[in-house]
C-alpha cells in the first residue's frame, strides 16, 4: 500500500516560513481535501509531495523514501499532478494533451493500452466531443477536465490535484468530486486535492485537512473538521452547520 508521510517538514521562502513542522500521513485510499484560506500554504503543502518545492527542514517520504532522493521519472511512476491550467504554448489537441499523461509509463510509440486508457479518461470526463479541439480554445472548465483526464491516464498511486473544480459549474463540480471519490476507492489510490468549496468538500471528502497558521489546524472527517468554530477561527466568517446523515451542510452567515 502506498504511503506518503511528512516528517517535521517546514517550508518557507527566504526567511518567511509558510509551513512549520508538518507531520502528516496519507495511507488510506480515498479522497482527501486540503482546505484553508488563501495564502496559507495548501498548494505549497501538496507541491512538497511531488518535489516541486524543496522543504527547508524535515522530509516528505513516499513509501519510506525521501522524495528528494528519487528521480522525477521514478516519482512519476507513483504520483501524478493535475495543475489548474494547461500551460500549452503551442497548439495541442485534447487527445494529444491527454496522451502526454502516458509519458512516464509509455514507451517510444503509442500502444493500444495507451489509447484505451486515454479513451476511457475521455469518456469519464465527458470530453468526447472535444478530442480534436485545441486545448487553448476550450473554456477554463473544459481545460480542467482535460487536465484531470491527463492525470488519470498516468495511472498513479497518488493523484494530486490543485483546485481542479475551481472553474467548473456546480454540476461538473459534483460530477468530478463524485468520480474522484469512487475512482480512489475502486483503484485503491490516494487522491489529494486542494479546494475551496466547503460544502462540496463536506459532501464527498473521506478526509479533510484544514491548513492554517503555518500548520495543520484540523485533520479528520468532514464532520470533525468542518465545524462552525473551526470555520469561524480559520476563515474569520460566521457559519452555521447543519448535519444530514452525518454530512455537514455549511451556511455562511453574511455580514452586512
Amino acid at each position: 500500500m502506498t504511503k506518503v508521510e511528512f516528517k517535521d517538514m517546514s517550508f518557507g521562502y527566504d526567511t518567511k516560513i509558510i509551513l512549520d513542522n508538518i507531520n502528516l500521513t496519507f495511507e488510506e485510499p480515498g479522497l482527501v481535501c486540503v482546505l484553508g484560506p488563501n495564502g496559507v500554504g495548501k498548494t505549497t503543502l501538496v507541491k512538497c509531495i511531488n518535489k516541486l518545492l524543496v522543504p527547508k527542514a524535515g522530509v516528505v517520504e513516499l513509501n519510506g523514501t525521501d522524495v528528494h532522493k528519487m528521480s522525477f521519472h521514478e516519482m512519476a511512476q507513483h504520483l501524478a499532478f493535475v495543475p489548474n491550467s494547461s500551460g500549452n504554448t503551442f497548439s495541442m489537441s485534447v487527445l494529444e494533451t491527454i496522451l502526454m499523461g502516458r509519458h512516464p509509463i509509455a514507451g517510444w510509440t503509442t500502444t493500444d493500452e495507451d489509447i484505451e486508457a486515454v479513451e476511457q479518461a475521455i469518456t469519464i470526463l465527458g470530453l468526447d466531443e472535444f478530442v480534436s479541439r485545441d486545448v487553448r480554445a476550450l473554456s477554463a472548465g473544459q481545460v480542467q477536465r482535460v487536465m484531470i483526464a491527463r492525470g488519470l491516464v498516468q495511472e498513479p498511486e497518488v493523484l494530486i490535484l490543485d483546485e481542479p473544480t475551481s472553474n467548473l459549474d456546480v454540476k461538473y463540480q459534483m460530477g468530478v468530486m463524485k468520480f474522484l471519490k469512487s475512482y480512489a476507492h475502486d483503484r485503491g489510490i490516494i487522491v489529494i486535492m486542494v479546494c475551496h468549496d466547503l460544502n462540496i468538500t463536506a459532501a464527498y471528502a473521506d478526509r479533510v485537512i484544514l491548513v492554517y497558521n503555518k500548520g495543520i489546524y484540523a485533520d479528520g472527517s468532514a464532520a470533525e473538521v468542518l465545524t462552525a468554530e473551526n470555520i469561524e477561527e480559520v476563515y474569520d466568517v460566521k457559519a452555521k452547520v447543519f448535519y444530514e446523515d452525518g454530512v455537514p451542510h455549511i451556511f455562511l452567515v453574511p455580514e452586512y
Partner: protein, 313 residues
Amino acid sequence: MIGTYPIEPEDVWNQLMIAIFGGDRESTIYHVVIELRMPRILGAIVCGFGLAICGTAMQSMLKNPLADPYTMGISSGAGFGAALAILLGIELIAGGGVVVNAFIFAIVPAAVIMFLSRFRQATPTMMILCGTALMYLFNAITQLFMLVADPESMSAVYTWMVGSVNGITYSNLVIMVVVTVLGSIYVQIMAGQLNVMGLGDESAKTMGVDVERRRLIVMLVVTLVAAAVVSFTGIIGFVGLVAPHIVRTILGSDNRYLIPASGIFGAVLLMASDVAARTIVAPQMLPVGVVTACLGGPLFMYLILRNSREAWT
C-alpha cells in the same frame, strides 16, 4: 541543375558517378557540379536542417515561439567572433581564423544562459530575455567595430553577417554533417520529453522529466549544432525561427514528427533560397539570408493569417 551555367539532370548524374567511381575529373562540367555547386547545395541542406532543428528544440524547451539561434544570441555571438577576426585580426586560437572565432563566440551567449539557468534558477522567459539582451550587446559591439573598419573589411563582415553557403568546402561539410547529425539524433530521441516540457516545468516534472537538467543538455547540443553551422556559413536568420512554425501549422506540435519535418523543410527552404540567390540577378548573387526571408516571410504571413485561431492564440 539550375544556375548561371545550365546543366542537364543527366549530366549532373554522370558527374556524380564520375565523382564516386572515377572518370574525367578535369572537365569544366565536373568542376562546376562537383567542386562548386555540390558542396554549396549540401551545405544549404545541412545548414537549413540544423538551424530548423535548433529552432524547433529551442521553441519547445523554452516554451517560446520566438526562440531560435538568432534570438538566443548564438548567431550574434558568432558574428562578433567573426568581426574580431576580420576587422581586428584577433584569433582566439592561432590559425583558427573566422570559423574558430565564430564557433567560440557562438557558444558564449548559450554558456551565459546555461550558467544563469543552473546557478540562478532562471526561468525559460529569463533565459530568452538574457539571450536577446546578449544578441543586442554583441550586435552593438560588432556595429561599433564596423564604424572604424576599412571598406574592404567592412564588406567582408557584412557578407558574413548576411550569411552565405558559397564558400563551403567538403572538409567544412564533414564537420557540419557530423555535428548536425549527432545533434539531430539526440534532439529526436528527446522529442517526447520536449513535448512534455512544452506543458510547463511543473507538469513536465510531475510527468517524470528532470526539466532543468534536460533543458541544459538540449541547450548545449543545439548550441553546438547552430555554432557549427553558422561558423561556416555566417548568420543565416529566419530559417530556425520560421521552419518550425510553418511545419507546425501543417503537422501540429508533436515534436516526434515536428523535429524531422522542420529539419527537412528548413533544408528545402535554404536550398531553394540559395538557388534563387544564384539565379535571380545572375551573374551577381544575392545574400541567401535575404532570399530566405523573402521566400519564407510571405508564406509565414499567409499561414499566420490563415491559421491564427488554430496555431497561435
